[in-house]
C-alpha cells in the first residue's frame, strides 16, 4: 500500500521533536449501500475512503494528524504537523521492522466483483416475503451494506501489520399499521466475510420473521409499568445490555482516567458467580472479528469476568502507559480519521448450564424480552434504558401475551449481579458501536439469561 522507505521516513520524521512512539495507519476501503423501500431501490451509493493517520505519543500525551490520499508529500506533512505539537528535540529512534504480520484471509467473492443486480436480487427476496406476510404490513425497508477495508499499520517499535477486512450485512425492517398505530420488526444479520456468506442466507425467512414481529406487536397490549420484576432476556442481541451497560466501562478509554465504576476492581467479585463475560476478536468470520487490531497487536480472547470475578480490562497501547495492564489486542478505530483506542470486538456471556424453558417456568410473573432494541447508557455510571422490540408478559411461569412498548431500566453493574440463569446455547448479532475512535463493527451476544429483577417500564395497566 505504501512503500517501506516512505513509511520509515514518516515514522522517523514524527519523532523529530521528542516523541517516544510513532505510528502510521493507512487504509484503502470501498463501501457500498443499496436501499430499497417497498420493493423499489431508492439509493445506491459507493464510497472509497483512502488516507493515512500519523500518531505520536509522548508518555500518555497523544498527537494525531491525518490526511486523505497516501502520496509521500501528504504523509510527510502529516508527520511534521504531528511532530510540531511537541516542540522538543529528538530523543528516540525508530527500530527496524522486526515483526511483520500479514493477514491471510481473502474473500471467495470480493464485493468489488459483485454488481448491484446481485445485491438487489438478494434483498428483494426478503422484502417481497415481508410484504406478503400480512396485509397489515404497510412498509418494508431493505438494505445491503458491504465494506472491504485494506489496512496497514507500522510503528517505531518495529511492528508492521497489514490485513484485509471484508464485511457484509443485510437489513430488513417491516412496519405494520392498524388504526393509526404502527409497530416495527427488524432483522439485520451480517458477517466478516465476502459475498459468499449470502449464498447460505434464507432471505425469505428473514423477511417473514421481521414482518411477524411487527404484526405480533401491533396486536399486543401495552406493557405494564411493572417496576422491578424478573426478566428473561433471549440470546443473541440480548447481549446489548452487557455491551452497553458493562463492557464499555471495562474499556481503558474509561478506566484509565477513572471514569468507570469498575476502576480498581480487578480480582473482585462484580457479577453473579455463574457469569463469565468474554470479548473475543479471534472468532473466524464473525462481524466483530479482526486478525490484528489497529495498532498491529494480534486479536485475542479476553476473559473479562470469570465466574463473577473481574479478570481483565480491554487495553490499547497508549493506555498501557496509564494502567499497569497487558495489551489485549483491542485497539480499534473507524478509519484513518481517528486515533485508535480500546474497543470491543465480539462480546458475550459465555454459555451456562441452565435450561431455557425452565427459566420461564420458574420465574413467576415478569417479562420475557424476546428481542432487544436500541437504547442509551451513561458509560460513567452504567445507567441504561433499553427498548424491547418484542416482549411477552409471563404470569405464573407461563407466557401470557405479547406486550409492546416495554423498556428495561437499570444499572449494568447491578444487572450482572442479579443473573441467576444462563442457558446452554450462545449466539451473537451484529451492530455498530460508537465511541471516541468512531463507529466500529461489533457483535453482541449471549445465551438466554434470567435476571432476578430489572425495572420494567411501560404505559399499560395490569394484564
Amino acid at each position: 500500500m505504501i512503500d517501506k522507505r516512505v513509511v520509515e521516513n514518516v515514522l522517523e520524521a514524527a519523532l523529530a521533536t521528542g516523541g517516544d512512539y510513532s505510528e502510521l495507519f493507512a487504509e484503502d476501503t470501498e463501501k457500498s449501500l443499496i436501499s430499497m423501500t417497498d420493493g423499489k431501490v431508492e439509493d445506491a451509493s459507493y464510497r472509497r475512503v483512502n488516507g493515512a493517520g500519523v500518531r505520536v505519543l509522548l508518555g500518555a500525551r497523544c498527537v494525531y494528524a491525518y490526511t486523505s490520499g497516501q502520496d509521500e508529500k501528504a504523509l510527510m506533512e502529516a508527520a511534521q504537523a504531528a511532530a510540531a505539537a511537541l516542540k522538543g528535540t529528538r530523543d528516540h529512534e525508530t527500530r527496524a521492522f522486526g515483526v511483520r504480520r500479514v493477514g491471510e484471509y481473502s474473500p471467495k467473492e470480493p464485493y468489488a466483483q459483485v454488481d448491484n443486480a446481485a445485491r438487489i436480487a438478494l434483498i428483494r427476496r426478503a422484502s417481497d416475503a415481508a410484504k406478503a406476510y400480512s396485509g397489515e404490513i404497510t412498509q418494508v425497508l431493505a438494505r445491503f451494506l458491504d465494506v472491504d477495508q485494506r489496512m496497514m499499520v507500522a510503528n517505531s517499535l518495529g511492528v508492521w501489520a497489514e490485513d484485509r477486512r471484508p464485511r457484509g450485512r443485510v437489513v430488513v425492517q417491516a412496519v405494520a399499521m392498524k388504526d393509526g398505530e404502527a409497530q416495527t420488526g427488524y432483522k439485520a444479520p451480517g458477517r466478516g466475510e465476502g459475498f459468499e456468506q449470502f449464498r447460505n442466507y434464507d432471505m425469505e425467512a428473514l423477511g417473514t420473521t421481521a414482518a411477524k414481529q411487527a404484526v405480533t406487536m401491533l396486536h399486543a397490549p401495552q406493557c405494564p409499568a411493572a417496576g422491578a420484576v424478573p426478566v428473561v432476556i433471549d440470546g443473541g442481541f440480548g447481549g446489548v445490555i452487557l455491551h452497553e451497560a458493562c463492557v464499555h466501562s471495562l474499556e481503558a478509554t474509561s478506566v484509565a482516567k477513572g471514569n468507570s465504576e469498575f476502576c480498581g476492581k480487578l480480582g473482585q467479585t462484580v457479577a453473579s458467580p455463574i457469569v463469565t463475560a468474554v470479548d473475543d476478536g479471534t472468532m473466524p468470520g464473525e462481524w466483530g472479528s479482526i486478525r490484528f487490531d489497529d495498532e498491529g497487536t494480534p486479536a485475542q480472547r479476553n476473559v473479562l469476568i470469570e465466574n463473577g470475578v473481574l479478570k481483565s480490562y480491554l487495553v490499547d497501547y497508549r493506555n498501557t502507559r496509564l494502567m499497569e495492564h497487558p495489551l489485549t489486542g483491542s485497539s480499534r478505530r473507524e478509519s484513518y480519521e481517528f486515533a485508535p483506542t480500546s474497543r470491543m470486538t465480539n462480546t458475550f456471556f459465555a454459555e451456562g448450564m441452565d435450561d431455557d424453558e425452565e427459566m420461564i417456568r420458574t420465574m413467576g410473573t415478569g417479562l420475557y424480552a424476546a428481542s432487544m432494541g436500541g437504547g442509551s447508557v451513561n458509560p460513567l455510571t452504567g445507567e441504561f434504558n433499553f427498548a424491547v422490540d418484542e416482549a411477552y408478559w409471563v404470569k405464573d411461569g407461563k407466557i401470557f401475551c405479547p406486550v409492546r412498548g416495554a423498556t428495561l431500566i437499570g444499572k449494568g453493574a447491578d444487572v450482572i449481579k442479579k443473573i441467576d440463569r444462563i442457558g446452554r446455547h450462545m449466539w451473537m448479532a451484529p451492530g455498530m458501536c460508537g465511541s471516541l475512535s468512531g463507529s466500529v463493527p461489533t457483535n453482541v451476544g449471549q445465551p438466554r439469561i434470567r435476571v432476578t429483577d430489572i425495572v420494567v417500564g411501560g404505559k399499560g395497566g395490569a394484564l
Binding site: 475512503v49 500525551r61 505539537a85 455510571t381
Partner: protein, 199 residues
C-alpha cells in the same frame, strides 16, 4: 491526480460511455482539535482531508460514487453508472447549469483567527473554569477546542462552476461531579465567538 485533471478525466470518461451529463462535487476540510486533561494537553489533532463525489446522469436517472483517491477515473465512473442503473425512483434534484450567486460576506469571527497556542490556552482556561465552578467537580471527561475550514467546489458538464468556504470554531466541556459514591456528568458547547464564553 490533482483535482482539475481528475475532474476532466471523469467528465471525458462519463460522456464517452454514454452518460448525458456528469458533475463533480469536491470538498476539502482542514481542522484542529485539542483536548486537555489536568492542566496538560491530552490529545492534539491537526488534519486535512478531501473527497470528490461524482454524479452522472444516465437514461434520465442519477447515479453517485465518492472517492478520496483521485485516481482510476474509469472505476469511479463505472460505479456511478451501475448506481444510476439500479435506482428506481425519480431524483427531483436536476443538475444546474451556469448560475449567478449573490455575494455573501460572512461576519469575521475572532475565534477563526486564533492561533494553535491560543486555542490550547483557551481549552486550559475552560478546564480551570469547569473545575472551579463547584467543589464537587472531580475532573473533566473531555474539554476541547476545535476549529476548521471547509472548501467546497461544484462543477459539471452543463456549465456550472461554483465554490464556497466555511469556517467553524467550537468548544465542548464535560465535567464529572462526585458526591459520596454518586458520580454524574453533563456537557455544554459553544460555537463561533461563543468559545470565549468560558465561564
Amino acid at each position: 491526480m490533482e483535482f482539475n485533471a481528475f475532474k476532466k478525466a471523469l467528465f471525458e470518461e462519463a460522456l464517452a460511455r454514454g452518460c448525458e451529463a456528469a458533475e463533480a462535487y469536491y470538498q476539502r476540510t482542514e481542522s484542529f482539535s485539542v483536548n486537555v486533561l489536568e492542566g496538560d494537553i491530552d490529545q492534539y489533532e491537526v488534519n486535512a482531508k478531501g473527497g470528490l463525489n461524482l454524479r452522472v446522469k444516465l437514461n434520465g436517472r442519477n447515479g453517485y460514487a465518492f472517492t478520496q483517491k483521485l485516481e482510476e477515473p474509469e472505476k469511479l465512473v463505472a460505479r456511478a453508472m451501475d448506481n444510476a442503473r439500479s435506482i428506481e425512483v425519480e431524483d427531483d434534484h436536476p443538475m444546474q447549469g451556469k448560475c449567478e450567486y449573490p455575494v455573501v460576506i460572512e461576519e469575521e469571527k475572532k475565534a477563526y483567527a486564533l492561533g494553535e497556542q491560543q486555542k490550547i490556552d483557551l481549552a486550559l482556561s475552560l478546564e480551570r473554569a469547569a473545575k472551579a465552578a463547584d467543589p464537587r467537580v472531580l475532573r473533566t471527561v473531555f474539554c476541547t477546542v476545535d476549529s476548521g475550514r471547509q472548501e467546497a467546489r461544484i462543477s459539471n458538464t452543463l456549465g456550472l462552476d461554483a465554490a464556497e468556504e466555511k469556517r467553524i470554531a467550537v468548544s465542548v466541556v464535560m465535567p464529572v461531579t462526585k458526591e459520596g459514591e454518586d458520580m454524574r456528568n453533563a456537557y455544554a458547547f459553544r460555537f463561533g465567538d461563543g468559545v470565549f464564553d468560558v465561564d
